[in-house]
Amino acid sequence: MTFGIRGLLALTWLEIKIFLREPLGVIGAVFVPVFVFVVLGRTFGQSVAGEGQRGLVGPDLAVFAGLLIAISAVLSLVTIIAIYREGGILKRLRATPLRPLTILSAHVLVKLLFTATTLILTMMLGRRFLDVDIPIPWVPFTAATVVSTLSILSLGFVLASVAPTARFAQPIGTIVLYPMVGISGLFVPVDQMPALLQLVARITPASYAVSLMRGAWRGDSWLTHTGDLLGLAIIAAVCTALAVKVFRWE
């Protein structure tokens, strides 16, 4: 066990360093989301918020940002796994005593870490530049986002298995993941959507993620969101089981 942990930590630390050396990786994963959030917020935040309307700078903006950060992390995972597979890197790592689970867990840890970092940076800068003086539930909201990311990452592994080559990984991920935002309940409540879309919303992680993150922002007790946690957990379990079946190492 200790041996597995040592391998996991060594590989995770290494993947973090490698990720930081990829100039586009860090800029795309951390700086662009933060920058876009702040600029858009400054430009449109006040003008959109009319009398009695919900402004863009509101609780849902944070949830929206959190969801997008989670999805971009998953997209990055799908691409990296596809590139590693195509380059024979996954196969080479698997021919060592590193267990397959350890190799993939390292990537999950890296993504969760960068999701949390980006999210916290976004909230810090948002508070500084968007002239909002509200208490930010740092820990619960970050935790809710990370839990949501974990569930979406499991879906990412299924997508990474389906993608035939590294070139297709990014578009396939984009086509599947971003429409989830539309039916997540952020813009239209899930129970007001057409029946078919409701069904899709119920079996994809975004709706549970949004509900959980909203609750975390409001300061709800985690106990009131058992349903969301259960939904995310079931999706994670099903996707992980599926990924174990269909995952290709080469």
Binding site: F3, R6, G7, A10, L11, L14, E15, K17, I18, R21, E22, Y84, G87, G88, I89, K91, R92, R94, A95, T96, P97, L98
Partner: protein, 306 residues
């Protein structure tokens, strides 16, 4: 006394869909030798090697590596074997020293990775990213990674493919060094020259079947015993006496040289005796010995390059 077997394979069969990749393959690799599995691309070399390494599941057959079952005991086996995979890559921006450190951590070894780099001649690249290495440097790194836990048995799959002749020769020396330190090497190659220069014994594989196994010299003797002898002399009548030497199949003239063809090596003594007895003045004497390429062509009916 024959050395103990390190790898024992029998009846190994593997299909990909309707294609037969391996058919009833038997291999026996002995302790301390460099054993080559040789054949053209697509002959099944890598599939066979990866079944033996425990990376691939065969359809049928018995495999024992260091007395272990590669599928059941894969964890125990991985600690005792070192592998280099065909066309493997590492993360583009991983540093050479980081790759060695990761492998050391994973194998829990105390071997000095930097000393290993020194031996392999890439110590100066310790801080370089993988993507900046040349083909030869990458292969040296993969050899270092295969050796980091001081394994008893090393697998090298198409180690020198894509390297220039100079880098290739340097790698051959490294592989001989591995054997000279008492390890066993199992390698695949489609380069017959590499097999001839490097391997103690080879198994020729074609379309998933083992065609023959032995030392390169013995395979040539067995399948291509014919020799061509070219003698340069000013003596016009020499061709008549040389043509009468027992064992000579034909004698002819070509550009002022005498070309003798024989089907056995025993003819050589007779040729020398004839040259001495007749006091024939000789200015050049060459023999052409068939190579593994010729053996391959003879055994399979096609060139290894096709």
């Amino acid at each position: 006394m024959p050395a103990r077997s390190v790898i024992q394979v029998s009846g190994l069969t593997k299909h990909y869909g309707t294609t037969t990749a391996l058919s009833d393959v038997a291999i026996d690799v002995r302790d301390g030798e460099i054993f080559g599995l040789i054949g053209p691309n697509g002959a099944g070399k890598t599939t066979a090697m990866e079944c033996i390494e425990g990376l691939r599941v065969p359809d049928a057959g018995r495999i024992a590596v260091l007395g272990l079952d590669p599928l059941r005991d894969v964890a125990a086996l991985q600690r005792r074997i070192g592998v280099q995979l065909q066309e493997a890559q590492l993360q583009k921006r991983i540093k050479v020293r980081e790759a060695l450190a990761l492998w050391s951590a994973v194998y829990g070894t105390r071997l000095d990775g930097l000393a290993l780099l020194e031996q392999l001649g890439i110590a100066g690249k310790a801080n370089a990213w993988f993507m900046t290495l040349s083909g030869g440097q990458k292969q040296r790194l993969f050899i270092a990674l295969a050796l980091i836990h001081d394994p008893e048995l090393v697998f090298l799959d198409e180690l020198t493919t894509g390297l220039d002749p100079q880098a290739r020769r340097a790698i051959w020396d490294l592989v001989r060094g591995i054997r000279d330190r008492g390890k066993t090497v199992f390698l695949t190659t489609h380069l017959m020259e590499e097999a001839e220069r490097l391997c103690d014994r080879v198994a020729i594989i074609d379309h998933g079947r083992i065609v023959d196994v032995d030392s390169p010299d013995e395979l040539v003797r067995r399948h291509c015993p014919e020799r061509t002898i070219v003698i340069q002399t000013v003596d016009e009548r020499a061709i008549d006496s040389l043509g009468r030497v027992a064992g000579i199949d034909s004698a002819g003239r070509n550009n002022g040289q005498i070309v003798l063809r024989a089907h056995s090596v025993e003819v050589m003594t007779g040729v020398f005796r004839c040259l001495a007895d007749q006091q024939i003045p000789v200015t050049d004497f060459r023999t052409f010995v068939p190579t593994l390429e010729d053996v391959f062509l003879k055994l399979t009916g096609h060139s290894v390059r096709q």
